[in-house]
């Protein structure tokens, strides 16, 4: 049994069955993480390089832990502390690393499509850990895993993705995944942060009124306002954004039902979500982080094992 793909470049290229296999395998890895010895020897002879051309805390630590828990050898690479600052190209850097016999590349890059470019030019398997505003597949997988864990499934469930849809790779990966698995998806946020034709292109509902979106959904996935990717003024101030689109206690109390709250992190407290809400019992934000390691172990195991690498 194997995934239909050699790389994990995005959810877009996955079959529903691939997603099912990854999520089911992650359940078993979550059990591994509860054991006295939280480590299995599965990837003992595999070497993985973590190529991070863009800052990351959660994702990098999560991948690194997942690799170590699978007994893989890991190399960490941060662009800021490397020869990239001397002008080396992406392909040169990676080819140099690969000549040291590396099997898997985990990569984050600020340019959309960077991992796809690499996949065409190098023999190693590539896992996309976030590329520009395109996709962040492991985040969508861990979000789906967390929803499944709390609601028992994905099919027919209503998920609202709230906030900066325009600049969010988390949103895009989530939309692909949830639609493939039969969930209903709605995006909500200010019109300036929601691309046009979302309904036609992805079959998702668009709702500019936050309260209505919250009333509709079972799960609200609140996204971070990505100021670093916005080069024009799309709303007047963070305070105004918080007033119109911040998830607040009074608002949640007024919708007459209990929904589950998610956030991919890092949180801008008091902007897209208020502090007391983020720390409340409804929020499964830390559970998402915990599940992230199990889901990434599943992806690494499924792509690292089997007859994939033949250099």
């Amino acid at each position: 049994m194997q995934l239909s793909t050699k790389h994990l470049l995005g959810i877009r290229d996955l079959q529903p069955q691939d997603i099912q296999i990854i999520l089911d395998t992650a359940i078993q890895f979550k059990e591994v993480l509860q054991r006295p010895v939280k480590k299995v020897p599965s990837l003992r002879d595999i070497t993985i390089v973590n190529l991070f051309y863009e800052n990351s805390t959660r994702t990098r630590i999560s991948f690194e832990l997942a690799e170590k828990r699978l007994s893989a050898d890991t190399i960490n690479f941060a662009a800021s502390a490397s020869s990239v600052s001397k002008g080396e190209t992406l392909l040169d850097t990676v080819n140099n690393i690969l000549s040291m016999k590396v099997d898997l590349v985990v990569m984050r890059h600020s340019a959309s499509g960077a991992p796809h470019f690499l996949a065409k030019h190098i023999p190693a398997a590539i896992i996309n850990a976030g590329d520009g505003i395109n996709e962040h597949p492991t985040q969508a997988l861990l979000d789906a895993f967390s929803i499944r864990e709390n609601l028992g499934g994905l099919e027919g469930k209503r998920i609202a993705i709230i906030g900066d849809i325009m600049h969010s790779r988390v949103a895009l990966s989530n939309i692909y995944l949830l639609k493939k698995m039969g969930a209903e998806v709605m995006v909500s946020g200010p019109p300036t942060l929601i691309p046009k034709y979302m309904e036609e292109a992805f079959g998702v509902k668009v709702e500019y009124n936050l309260k209505k979106a919250l009333q509709w959904c079972d799960v609200a996935n609140v996204l971070r306002i990505q100021l670093e990717r916005q080069n024009q003024v799309l709303f007047s101030s963070l305070r105004e954004y918080n007033l119109a689109y911040g998830v607040k206690r009074e608002l949640l109390d007024s919708i007459g039902k209990e929904i589950i709250l998610m956030h991919p992190g890092p949180i801008n407290r008091g902007v897209e979500i208020d502090s007391d809400v983020a720390d409340s019992k409804q929020s499964i934000i830390l559970q998402q982080v915990e599940n992230g390691v199990a889901v990434r172990m599943a992806v690494l195991y499924l792509l690292g094992g089997g007859k994939v690498q033949q250099n």
């Binding site: 078993q28 059990e31 591994v32 094992g305 007859k307």
Partner: protein, 173 residues
């Protein structure tokens, strides 16, 4: 295709295995049964139920173990994992590993590695319904055997269980 054990013989064999385990472990408080996924679990379910009956309904430490992540052939073939559930500590316990067919011994090697990640048992024993002797690739021998058979590589031993296959017998194919 040749029947090795009929349904009736299988039933008697399970009863005997149960008595043999009890002979060696009079105090079941320190005993833990662990069935190996996927097909050893049908046998271990049966043995656990039988042992509880024999000891007057005393609760027994019983778990199931999947060894997929410990296999030595991951580079050749990928297997999907099954559930592992060991809801007790195996520290200083006497563990009996249970599988349906003992063949090369590689599964048991992996199971021993997996088991040690849960703690340090004081003793580990092995119970197999069918022992395909002279086929071992590792120095592993069972402590409790339902039936030993001689077979060649091209043959297959298959245990059918009511819960899964709607009939109960052991055949050599």
């Amino acid at each position: 295709m040749k029947t090795i054990l009929t349904e009736h013989q299988l039933d008697l064999t399970i009863q005997r295995l149960c008595h043999q385990i009890l002979e060696n472990h009079l105090d079941t408080a320190n005993l833990a049964l662990i069935g190996l996924q996927p097909r050893g679990v049908y046998l271990s379910n049966r043995l656990a139920r039988e042992l509880e009956k024999q000891t007057g309904g005393k609760k027994l430490d019983y778990g199931i173990l999947d060894i997929t992540f410990y296999r030595d052939d991951i580079r050749e073939e990928l297997h999907l994992a099954n559930q592992t559930r060991i809801p007790f500590s195996i520290e200083n316990k006497k563990v009996v590993l249970i599988d349906d067919v003992l063949y090369t011994g590689r599964t048991i090697r992996a199971a021993l590695d997996a088991l040690l990640d849960y703690g340090r048992p004081s003793k580990v024993e092995l119970c197999a319904l069918i022992d395909r002797r002279y086929s071992r690739e590792l120095p592993i021998q069972p402590d409790y055997v339902g039936k030993s058979i001689d077979s060649i590589i091209s043959q297959k031993v298959r245990v059918f269980w009511k819960e899964k296959d709607d009939r109960e017998e052991v055949v050599l194919m």
